[in-house]
């Protein structure tokens, strides 16, 4: 990990602090996303924010860019406290954020995107010529050969990122926040982006950078800040740190999510995936020729970065995505031709990654959500059996320990962790043989996380095969008997539960130089 960058360890003119957060806290109901964080942004330098999912990185960035308001604490710009009512006010102060999901209108041209919402007016309406001239100038500054009239949808993702940056620069941003800008970029596009970042810092623009690619981030950053569970756990300039330091501070020492359950006999192979390939919309394989087995009573963790193909693997196994090749065998029987419902009936079910979008029906009560996947179990003839359903709901609430007023409560009244337990409870109520969970701990607090893993461990003891995916290395080393690391659609390594965090991260490509 030799630094290949021209960024010096000590800048000639040490950047003073332009924007600072002091004791910033943000709570959503009972969920404390940020618990009093201090954070400095230095002028003309890159400050990188490290932390696992749910550590509070994105929340902090949204506070700094005015997208959300902190519950307490203050933001200090150029030594004076400021309050941003919304993102536009922050932008007026020269603070721009580039979100992980780009906010461009794909049908509009580069020029129209850059001037969206603040069109330049001439005597006869919008002054397109002037807009085009300024766009061209911006593109020259960024040394990108993009025609201002190209529709954004025709650009590669990396170029779209450049357009976002150009838009931020066009409003004279002094502080630019980039949330995972490289997660969808190719290596060469990352090079271009880093060059742009260096140019920007040379011009005095301050950058805040968030990335899961640790080593890649180390090549560009001047300062490192690590967040964990809403707290800032470490801060240091680049010269004093290395990869190990970051991982140690990110993951923490007292991170106990249980251990693999033992003391029982595992059964035969419950789920066998053979040579599975899953393409994306354009036909590029997101999962390539992948094979894995899960035995009854075994807990297997699939670890990988965003875009490694974890979600696609699980969704194809569940029947949501079409596959181009391979077999999915459940307890000796091929299930590829079956619908999602039929697979659930056979005992293969998925707890999806995004519970709001894919897991819950917001218009239905807690109870109706819990019983949704197993309606057939309490339907006799034409009608559902009220009493049988009520019993199922009560059993589920007890079994997965959902904290709720009862089955009739609205699903929106639950905290994130309890909502997740409802989704898991819904699937467990179908009495699955194999349960697959895609990032089961996403966006839930550590207590709920531990409870979810306890549930899975208990299920495994009773012969349930568990396959879960995660992007948090600490979660791999909790209850999983076996850890499968995915990288670019393939299995790059398999570990047992004694592996180290560094080994796992290395195999995922996280610690690989860009």
């Amino acid at each position: 990990m030799s630094p290949r960058t021209s960024v010096p360890d000590a800048t000639p003119e040490p950047g003073h602090v332009v924007l600072a957060a002091r004791n910033v806290a943000k709570s959503y109901g009972n969920v404390h996303a940020l618990k009093g964080v201090n954070f400095d942004i230095h002028q003309g330098q890159v400050t990188t924010l490290f932390g696992e999912n749910g550590a509070g990185k994105s929340t902090l960035m949204k506070v700094l860019s005015g997208v959300i308001q902190p519950t307490s604490g203050e933001i200090i710009l150029d030594g004076r406290p400021v309050v941003f009512g919304n993102a536009a006010e922050a932008r007026d102060h020269g603070i721009s954020i580039i979100h992980q999901e780009l906010s461009l209108a794909p049908n509009l041209s580069v020029r129209d995107n850059i001037f969206m919402g603040r069109e330049l007016h001439g005597t006869t309406g919008v002054d397109f010529a002037e807009e085009e001239r300024q766009t061209r100038k911006l593109m020259e500054e960024l040394e990108e050969n993009i025609d201002p009239l190209t529709p954004v949808e025709d650009l590669r993702l990396g170029q779209q990122q450049i357009v976002e940056i150009a838009r931020a620069l066009s409003v004279n941003s002094r502080i630019l926040i980039m949330d995972e800008p490289t997660s969808a970029l190719s290596a060469s596009e990352v090079e271009v982006l880093f060059k742009v970042i260096r140019d920007l810092t040379a011009r005095g623009v301050s950058i805040v950078y968030i990335s899961h690619h640790l080593e890649e981030a180390l090549t560009i950053t001047d300062h490192a800040v690590v967040l964990r569970d809403g707290n800032m756990t470490a801060y240091a300039p680049r010269a004093e740190i290395d990869l190990e330091w970051i991982v140690r501070n990110m993951v923490g020492e007292n991170y106990d999510l249980g251990s693999p359950p033992n003391g029982y006999e595992m059964g035969g192979v419950a789920l066998s995936i053979r040579n599975l390939s899953v393409p994306d919309a354009s036909g590029v394989d997101l999962v390539r020729d992948l094979s894995l087995d899960v035995r009854a009573g075994e807990i297997v963790c699939v670890y990988g970065l965003m875009g490694a193909g974890r979600t696609e693997l699980l969704e194809a196994a569940a029947g949501r995505l079409a596959k181009t090749g391979g077999e999915i065998v459940l307890e000796g029987r091929e299930v590829s031709h079956l619908s999602i419902g039929e697979r659930i009936a056979r005992g293969l079910a998925l707890v999806p990654e995004d519970r709001q979008r894919d897991g819950l029906v917001q218009t239905m009560s807690v109870g109706q959500n819990l019983s949704l996947a197993s309606i057939r179990n309490f339907t006799r003839g034409l009608f559902t059996q009220h009493r049988a359903e009520k019993k199922l709901i009560q059993d589920s609430i007890r079994e997965v320990t959902v904290k709720t007023d009862g089955g009739d409560a609205s699903i929106g009244s639950l905290s994130g962790g309890n909502q997740q337990k409802v989704v898991i409870g819904k699937i467990l109520a179908t009495k699955p043989r194999v349960i697959m969970l895609d990032e089961p701990s996403r966006g839930i607090d550590i207590g709920a996380k531990a409870e979810v893993f306890r549930l899975l461990a208990e299920g495994a003891k009773q012969g349930l095969a568990v396959l879960y995916s995660t992007s948090e290395v600490g979660e791999c080393l909790s209850i999983a008997h076996r850890i499968i690391v995915m990288h670019k659609g393939r299995i790059s390594a398999v570990f047992d539960s004694n592996a180290s965090k560094e080994q796992i991260m290395a195999a995922s490509g996280e610690a690989e130089a860009a």
Binding site: G29, I344, A345, L350, V361, T384, G412, S413, T430
Partner: protein, 347 residues
């Protein structure tokens, strides 16, 4: 960790907004009472059993369409073709009553009335299924698919009659096809058959929604189709079934209307789809899907029917009726957004 606070907020909200909530949730019911009270005061002829029965038989047409529309809207869709299916069904029934001439055999078939009813319902189901397949399998937006089918069905109805109306659907005793006007004119225990048909359809639909697995699937796929699909709900089949049912109910409404008028014209039921949508919305269903009840929709249909008939009875011009109906619809949607807008933003 969060249950205590949830209980507290829940209690607070039910305690504080009790009357407001009751008015909001029972708004269609209160509106109906207000309408009946006002018109009874203004006209002595309004509050009589015979008038209520006559008005109810008018409501039956809208009501049947509205039940089908409710199913579609619960699924998150819309069905603009119900008025046209109604006309096509009426015209087809009329054609069958007039006799089907088989030129190759040189005979004219006069199917019995029960066969006419069944065949018309099958036709309605077919057109509805076309909607469903277009929307669920070919991914045509519901608005566009049913708009197209609306024109096609209307055009076919016009073609069948060359724009004319079939009169005299009573049938002839020697052909054995009498009894078509039974639907529109007969009464059981003093209640018009059409009202009984509506009641039966409402009860069946209500049971289906609240008690059957299909009903649960429908609410789930309307509330969040992706989640429903991942829970094993056959979302495509649900969608096709919903549009098919809407087609069948439109056909039944077409039969009832043709029977009431003892004639079937290809221009019948124009803009009825909008009335049906209005009834569903006034009844508290959310156009985004997943929320709504048969009871509410029935109240909505009666609000519209009793309002427009009342305006006729007190002699208000039909132009004003249109204005009033529009105002009621907007008011209803306004209240919908009050009811669901707040609920949806809870964290």
């Amino acid at each position: 960790m969060s249950d205590t606070t949830n209980t507290q907020t829940a209690k607070r909200s039910t305690g504080g907004f009790d009357i407001a909530r009751l008015l909001l949730e029972g708004r269609a019911f209160f509106a109906l009472i207000v309408i009946i009270a006002v018109f009874s005061y203004m006209s002595p002829n309004y509050f009589t059993t015979s008038n209520f029965l006559i008005m109810s038989s008018h409501v039956a047409i809208y009501g049947l369409l509205a039940i089908g529309m409710l199913l579609v809207i619960l699924n998150g869709g819309i069905d603009l073709s119900v008025g046209s299916i109604l006309a096509l069904a009426g015209v087809s029934a009329g054609a069958m009553m007039q006799g089907i001439e088989l030129q190759a055999l040189g005979v004219i078939l006069y199917p019995p009335v029960w066969a006419v009813v069944v065949l018309t319902c099958v036709l309605g189901a077919f057109v509805g299924a076309v909607n469903g397949v277009l929307i669920s399998i070919f991914k045509v937006p519901a608005f566009v698919a049913t708009l197209g089918v609306m024109y096609v069905a209307r055009g076919v109805a016009l073609l069948m009659t060359n724009g004319l109306t079939y009169n005299n659907l009573a049938g002839k005793a020697e052909f054995g096809n009498t009894g078509f006007n039974w639907l529109g004119f007969s009464r059981i225990a003093g209640i018009p058959i059409s009202v009984l048909v509506l009641a039966a359809a409402a009860i069946i639909a209500g049971l289906m929604l609240s008690r059957s697995a299909f009903g649960r699937w429908l609410y789930a796929s309307g509330g969040n189709e992706r989640a429903a699909e991942l829970s094993g709900v056959p979302t495509r089949r649900v969608k096709i079934a919903v549009y098919t049912l809407s087609g069948i109910l439109s056909a039944i409404a077409g039969l009832v209307l043709a029977s009431q008028l003892t004639s079937a014209g290809p221009t019948a039921g124009q803009t009825y789809e909008l009335t049906a949508i209005a009834a569903v919305v006034i009844g508290g269903a959310a156009l985004t899907g997943g929320r709504g009840t048969v009871r509410g929709t029935m109240l909505g249909a009666f609000v519209i029917g009793f309002l427009s008939d009342g305006l006729v009875i007190i002699g208000v011009s039909s132009y004003w009726q249109t204005v009033f109906t529009g105002a009621v619809i907007v008011l209803a949607v306004l209240m919908n957004s009050l009811q669901y807008g707040r609920g949806g933003r809870k964290v």
